[in-house]
Assembly symmetry: C2
Homo-oligomer: 273 residues x 2
Amino acid sequence: MAQWAYYNNDFVLESDCAVPAGDLAVQRGYGVFDFFRTVAATPLFLDEHLQRFQRSAAELRLPIGKSDAELKTIFTQLIQKNALPDSGIRLTLTGGLSPDGFAIARPNLIITQQPMSRITASFEQGIRLATYKHQRQLPQAKTIYYLMAIWLQPWLTQNSADDVLYFSNDGVTECPRANFFIITAGGIIITPANNVLKGITRAQILRLAGEKANERPIALAELKTAQEAFITSTTRQILPVTAIDGVAVGNGKPGPITRWLAEQLMAEIRRLV
Amino acid sequence: MAQWAYYNNDFVLESDCAVPAGDLAVQRGYGVFDFFRTVAATPLFLDEHLQRFQRSAAELRLPIGKSDAELKTIFTQLIQKNALPDSGIRLTLTGGLSPDGFAIARPNLIITQQPMSRITASFEQGIRLATYKHQRQLPQAKTIYYLMAIWLQPWLTQNSADDVLYFSNDGVTECPRANFFIITAGGIIITPANNVLKGITRAQILRLAGEKANERPIALAELKTAQEAFITSTTRQILPVTAIDGVAVGNGKPGPITRWLAEQLMAEIRRLV
């Protein structure tokens, strides 16, 4: 089914939405993006996503060229044109068509929408992670740099894992497209504070966890004693981590605190829409 | 002036050469490229460039979909159509239009040509480098990942430098788009062997240097005692490095061994065309 998209200043069919081959995104992998959900035509946590999009663009020195109000109008029109109330909307901002293939030029802004179910189906199944040493560059910006994440896909299969958990000298950091949390034996909900992308769902979980939350480094050794672990993202919301590097987390099933947080997040979303 | 390009299976105007916004190059910065010179309509070191392009594509699991012979025919036709005997030709191979925005799909192949002078004008002026700690991922592949290189441009200006020299725990490695060499007081021509892209001009220099060449790590401290230093690339061929982090290399002018190597490289190119 043909979807509408928005490209710079116009609504176009997504299939007609193409970036010049000379754009720095294609030539040099230089660009940023953001991604949010809509439920019943209501964008979730939109201001938070737009703030992060602005921060990412500023970090890469890319002018967005549209105000938040203008962007919100475009989102509303896009949802109507596509008749897609439950969706994911992605904003991509590229480095632009550079005359010398290196200097930042006028960015191209692309907004696309895709259908997305309200329910994350795989909660009960959970996911298995495998650790890999890697630090994303400019981790605070949501850049389009996913070279390692895509390159590691066969390695994940070889290691019977569903996703990567990056670590560096300071401990574990994040998954390529999700934040990572552990829950200690004492019921403290921990997620790393530094060298990670600050997820919007991550912020909601920290808010819901209240005094039980602690942002601090997580050493690799702590993974073995964690009672529960989970990841958060806009797409997957909360997913229990059942195993890391082939070792079960807790009893290898979704844990009670993870389940409680997921229920609270769902309740919050129901309040918003 | 409108240039012809080649896109998948057709010659198109470069201005019409655009990559779907859903391509993994735009969505995830996933792709490889190579770049070679033509002089008097003769591609320089073409087999070496095509071998490296194949290796880069294989490393990222991207099928090129064309034989070397087919590519060579396209290059010949492109040079004729554009009437550009002295040029640079770039091949870009993207991750393709991925249904889920993550899995590798059928790559898009883009071949573009740009005018390029035979003479590297800035040899006498040389270039000033500033060191920065960074390790490119998958350094042996010529990926489109240049996030740090572009992000560092204002930092270079602040540090009165023309280009970055990356270093890691094992010493200096390379510039974002060039290999790096030093010449010791004993006249030995040294370039790092590991964690760098193996440049085609680099290989020519090693061949010309013969027994005087040594591929080994270069510690940061060695930069201060180097008699000469230079960078090599297809675009810049050989350029003397006159200063690193604000400190003059040797007497701060192009040195005799660098000059001799540049003359040998020019002589080799004259033999080929």
